[in-house]
């Protein structure tokens, strides 16, 4: 388990945006993972997708690493941001835009605005 946590720590340190999810960004296998991956894809954010279904060690390890019981989990610049509910709320409130700006992560502001317009 220690090895897994080290591996997870290295992964989130080496990649600006990491989404631990069920399935992949091109083929999500859970509605909640699909929603967060869809938001990031739509906003043109480059991110690493880690498919927890492909690695049982990571699937359990990420829950302990983050002290968070559910998947998906989003990391930006090594910091845990939240799961599906939090990312959805932050997308609609504009907080996710702010986080990306402060973190130097490129994203498409117009696309983010379109998501908000469609969900207003």
């Amino acid at each position: 388990m220690t090895d897994v946590k080290t591996r997870i720590g290295d992964t989130v340190a080496a990649n600006d945006v990491v989404l631990f999810m069920k399935g992949t960004k091109s083929m999500p296998q859970c509605g909640f993972s699909s929603r967060v991956a869809g938001v990031l894809n739509y906003m043109g954010v480059e991110f690493l997708d880690v498919n927890v279904l492909a690695d049982e060690g990571v699937r359990q390890g990420i829950k302990e690493f983050s002290d968070w019981p559910t998947i998906p989990q989003l990391y930006v610049k090594g910091e845990f941001v939240g799961g599906c509910d939090i990312i959805t709320e932050m997308t609609l409130s504009g907080e996710l835009d702010t986080l990306f700006e402060q973190s130097g992560v490129a994203y498409d502001k117009d696309a983010a605005d379109k998501i908000r317009e469609a969900n207003a």
Partner: protein, 89 residues
């Protein structure tokens, strides 16, 4: 929880004890997920919870979610497949 108590009742008891919420709405959405991963016959797999309590005042989103996870306990959280949380102060 004794294993036969409905999950929603156990959730309500624990959340009321922990947060004294002025609003608490627990919905079993399992039927909406029939045929999806995690669905089990009889439901009790997918829940949506709306909770409003002064206890969350000043807490970050992550802190609020962690507080709810902790109040529900590992046994309950581990038993359900999906938990959508809408938490407010």
């Amino acid at each position: 929880m004794n294993g036969t108590e409905p999950v929603a009742d156990a959730m309500r008891t624990r959340l009321e004890a922990a947060f004294d919420p002025r609003e608490l709405n627990i919905v079993d959405e399992s039927e909406k997920h029939r045929g999806h991963a995690g669905y089990q016959e009889g439901g009790e797999s997918h829940f949506r919870v709306l909770i409003r309590s002064a206890a969350f005042d000043g807490q970050t989103r992550i802190a609020r979610h962690r507080a709810v996870h902790d109040a529900l306990g590992k046994d309950l959280v581990g038993r359900i497949h999906a938990l959508a949380l809408d938490i407010g102060a």
